[in-house]
Structures are given as structure tokens and as C-alpha cells.
């Protein structure tokens, strides 16, 4: 089993506040790895340290290490890290001033990843198909991304990330703002994508973690309480806190 992402004694601070305490995680390749925990436990912060997006926040400081296939992301150029580790956000955020097509093409064009228009069209179509969106938007590629429904927007964001062909996709509560039917489509898509990619998904819903993940980590107040195969953690949690979280006693 190859390890895609590994954190070593990871500690994260906002100013003087320590929000993540000594997290050691190993995330295997080609799985859906869920990080669950109550709101404010540091899930999103932890996720953003993997692709160094946390650096957009000038108050955040990271100690310890995050390794991508054995190599420290903090020794790499953040641009390179983010091309290998894509991200989908809680709020579906296609660029509202760009068409559906341009949203997907943006990363390819600006990163000079394609040589010709033909190749660009091919990859955009491929990404939209992979994101299970092609059939719904193939007639409206030139409409603005903001004209789509909430669920379609989120799949457009997934297509936008897929187009630059990352190895890993981080998802920060991707269904939190969606209706149940749209959420189900995204969940199906996630299970489909893990054949080729590693997916790390943050969720505040244990039910969602149980439905879609192979591995799950439980984070509480910045501490990693328990981690393991999803089935094992849900059927036989080792820690009292995990048990309480899964039975709804803490949230």
C-alpha cells in the first residue's frame, strides 16, 4: 500500500492559538479518506495545510511536516504542490464571470498544459464527462458558470480540478450546501473517482463518512482521536470520544 499523504507531528497555529496538535496521519493511495469531526475542530485547516493553501492566511503557521509521496510539500514550490493536490470547496465556486467551458479550461490555459485548441477541447470534454456533468452542459458550454444549479456548479468545480490532472483531490465539505439529490450525485462521483485518484474529504456528517469512505479519521478540538478503516471505526470504535461522537452525544 502506497502512502499518498503523510503528516508528521503536524501542528498549526493561528497567531498564538494552536488549532491542530501533533497530528500524524498516513493517507493511502486510491482511497476515499474522510476526516470527520464537529464544526470548528480544525478539519478545514488541516486540509488546507496539505496543499499549502493555508498560506493565503497570513496568521497561520505550520510546524512539523506534510509529505506527498514521501517528499515534503514544504520543500516544494507551492504552485507545484497545488497542481498535484487539487481542491474542491464547501461553497460551489465556479468563477462567475467565466463560461462553463472557460472554468474548466482555465487551469489548462494559464498553466500552459495544452499545446492546441483541439487538445484543450478534448481535455475539457474529458473532465466534464469524468465529473458526470457533460450530458447536462454540452449544449450550454458558453453560458456563465453561475447559471448552473448548485449541484451542477459543484460538479463543474470538480471538473475544473480534474482538468489539471492532480493525483489527489481535497474536498472541504463538498455537499454541505447542496440538496440531498445533488449531494448523492457528488457522493457517487467520489466513489467513481477513487479508482484513479486519492480523495481526502472533510465532513461533519458521520453518516456521509460511513457511506463513502474507506478510511476515516476523527478529529476533535484539533486532536486526532482515532483513525482506521471506516468499517472498523464505525463498528468498534476504540476511543470513548469517538463512540460518543458516533452516537450523537457530542457534536
Amino acid at each position: 500500500m502506497k502512502v499518498a499523504i503523510e503528516t508528521v507531528n503536524l501542528r498549526i497555529y493561528y497567531g498564538r492559538n494552536r488549532v491542530i496538535e501533533n497530528v500524524n496521519l498516513k493517507i493511502p493511495e486510491n482511497v476515499v479518506f474522510a476526516i470527520m469531526g464537529p464544526s470548528g475542530c480544525g478539519k478545514s485547516t488541516l486540509l488546507r495545510s496539505f496543499n499549502r493553501l493555508l498560506e493565503l492566511n497570513p496568521n497561520a503557521r505550520v510546524e512539523g511536516d506534510v509529505r506527498l509521496y514521501g517528499r515534503s510539500v514544504y520543500d516544494m514550490n507551492p504552485i507545484e504542490v497545488r497542481r498535484k493536490i487539487g481542491m474542491v470547496f464547501q461553497l460551489p465556486n465556479p468563477f462567475p464571470h467565466m463560461s462553463v467551458f472557460d472554468n474548466v479550461a482555465l487551469g489548462l490555459k494559464l498553466n500552459s498544459l495544452v499545446k492546441s485548441k483541439k487538445e484543450l477541447h478534448k481535455i475539457v470534454e474529458w473532465a466534464l464527462k469524468k465529473a458526470a456533468l457533460w450530458d447536462e452542459v454540452k449544449e450550454r458550454l458558453h453560458e456563465p458558470g453561475s447559471a448552473l444549479s448548485g449541484g451542477q456548479k459543484q460538479r463543474l468545480c470538480i471538473a475544473r480540478v480534474l482538468a489539471v490532472k492532480p493525483k489527489i483531490i481535497l474536498m472541504d465539505e463538498p455537499t454541505a450546501n447542496l440538496d440531498p439529490i445533488s449531494a448523492e450525485k457528488i457522493e457517487k462521483l467520489i466513489c467513481e473517482l477513487k479508482k484513479e485518484l486519492t480523495i481526502v474529504i472533510v465532513t461533519h456528517s458521520p453518516a456521509q463518512a460511513a457511506r463513502i469512505s474507506d478510511y476515516v479519521a476523527f478529529l476533535y478540538m484539533g486532536k486526532l482521536i482515532e483513525v482506521g478503516k471506516t468499517k472498523e471505526v464505525f463498528e468498534d470504535p476504540k476511543e470513548k470520544l469517538t463512540k460518543e461522537y458516533l452516537t450523537g452525544k457530542i457534536w
Binding site: I79, F89, H97, M98, G107, L110, V161
Partner: protein
């Protein structure tokens, strides 16, 4: 009963104060139109294109001043807009840096800075060394007046973009340059353009920065950017101080032209502002 009367009196009082505050604006527009329109009608097209009449003899035209205002505004934009937009981007992108914070407060001070001092400054650094008033000196003074407005609007436009789009753009592995100029700048476009137009409208009507820099030019149209140039506000300032009746008439006509230019930039702007959703 007494309380109701008091309340009505109070409301009346406020309404009267408010009316007093906006009254001068309408009075200015009214009197400029009432005294300027007959001049424009009498002078016809020649009033817009011709050169200044001799003292006490007819209307002639204010062509050099109109052309000068366009030259000065364009040159000032050419100098000021790129610098101002970059300054705004810098202040928005690096708000935590010492220079970023300094820029922010300096811009606010610059907006309120007495414009005549800007004129004095440019006179010192350009007019005296060159030995002559010039279009380039006037344009530089106007550029300095224009820049803080454009920079502050640009900064605001960038800051109003929700953080999630910034994250999305960086998350794709784009460099900061591409995030700012290829993604965010296009989202902030309306705000930036608004700032540019407000800056241009502002300097098109400025007099004080031109007093010691542009020099004025009324009998020929254009002599070169290193030579004196006319401007409508400057022409009005000079004409009303003359003892000749026809010069006062020309000044009113020129005032109306200036007002129309200002409104032509400003009204579409105000109307289109409503469409901007943030």
C-alpha cells in the same frame, strides 16, 4: 398633542436643512444652464471649435480650451491610471505588509490633499527646470490628483471579491500574478473602471493644479506637449477676472460646456453603478 406638534416641527426642521444642503447644487446647474445656454446658442458650433475673441468683440470660440482639457485628461490618465491600478492591487494583495498599510493611509490623505499644493510641487520639479508652462506639467499634476481615487476604488474592488474565489484560483496551482491579473482583475473589472472614470471626471474639472503648470492657450489650438496648453476651468478662471462683457459671456458658455462634459462622464457611471452586484 404637544408631542405630535413637536415631532412635526422637528421633521420640518430636518427637511428644510436637507433642502438647504442640496439647493446650491441645483442652483449651480440652473444658473449655469440659464446663463450659458444663450451663449452656446448664439455662438453656435463655432463656439466649440473657434479660438478666443479679442476683448470687447464677439464670442469667438473656446476650441483650444476644450481640446486642452481632452489632452490634459488623456495624458494624465496615461500617466496616472497604470500606476494607480498597480498601487490599488498592491494595497489589496499585501494589506499586512508595512508598505501596504502605509499605502492605504497615504492614499486616503492624498485624496483630501489641497490640490493647489500639487500644482506648486509640479511647478518646482517641471515648470521651473523646463522654463515654461507645459501640457506635460499640467498632466502630471492632474495625474497626481487622480491617482488616489483610482487606487482606492481598485483596492476596494479587489477586496470585495469573496475569499473563496481567491482560494479556488490559487488551488489550481496558478502563480500570484496569474491569480491577480488573469482571474481576479476580471471579476473586479466594474469597480476598477468605475474608479478610473471617477478619477477622470474629477480631473477634467480641476483648476488649482493647473494654475502654475498648464499656463493656458486660447488663440492657437496646440503647440506641443512641452508648451503651454489650455483647459476649460483655467479659461473660466481667467475670463471672469477680465473687465470685458463678452469675456464674461464666454465664461458662462464655457461653464456649461464643462458641466456637460462632467455630466457625460458621471451620469452613465451613476446609472451603471446600480448594476454592479457585490
Amino acid at each position: 398633542m404637544l408631542r405630535e406638534v413637536k415631532e412635526k416641527l422637528f421633521l420640518c426642521g430636518i427637511a428644510i436643512m436637507a433642502a438647504l444642503a442640496v439647493l446650491p447644487l441645483f442652483h449651480i446647474i440652473y444658473s449655469v444652464a440659464a446663463r450659458g445656454l444663450p451663449v452656446l446658442l448664439k455662438g453656435g458650433l463655432k463656439f466649440l471649435s473657434g479660438t478666443l475673441a479679442p476683448p470687447g468683440d464677439g464670442l469667438g470660440g473656446i476650441g483650444p480650451a476644450i481640446l486642452g482639457t481632452f489632452i490634459l485628461t488623456s495624458l494624465a490618465s496615461l500617466i496616472g491610471l497604470p500606476i494607480a491600478v498597480m498601487t490599488g492591487v498592491y494595497a489589496a494583495e499585501y494589506p499586512e505588509s508595512i508598505l501596504g498599510r502605509l499605502t492605504r493611509s497615504l492614499l486616503t490623505i492624498m485624496m483630501e490633499f489641497p490640490t493647489i499644493l500639487v500644482g506648486l510641487f509640479v511647478m518646482q520639479i517641471l515648470v521651473i527646470p523646463m522654463g515654461s508652462y507645459s501640457a506635460i506639467a499640467g498632466a502630471l499634476a492632474l495625474a497626481i490628483v487622480m491617482m488616489p481615487y483610482v487606487a482606492v476604488y481598485t483596492e476596494e474592488a479587489f477586496k470585495n471579491i469573496p475569499f473563496t474565489y481567491r482560494e479556488a484560483a490559487f488551488g489550481l496551482g496558478l502563480t500570484r500574478f496569474k491569480v491577480v491579473f488573469r482571474v481576479l482583475a476580471r471579476m473586479a473589472k466594474k469597480g476598477i473602471v468605475t474608479g478610473m472614470l471617477i478619477g477622470m471626471a474629477k480631473v477634467a474639472g480641476e483648476t488649482a493644479p493647473l494654475l502654475f503648470t498648464a499656463g493656458g492657450l486660447n488663440r492657437i489650438y496646440f503647440a506641443g506637449i512641452d508648451r503651454p496648453v489650455g483647459a476649460i476651468p483655467l479659461l473660466i478662471y481667467n475670463l471672469v477676472q477680465q473687465p470685458y462683457e463678452n469675456y464674461h459671456e464666454i465664461a458662462w458658455g464655457a461653464s456649461l460646456v464643462l458641466l456637460l462634459i462632467f455630466l457625460a462622464i458621471f451620469l452613465p457611471l451613476r446609472l451603471s453603478l446600480k448594476e454592479v452586484k457585490l
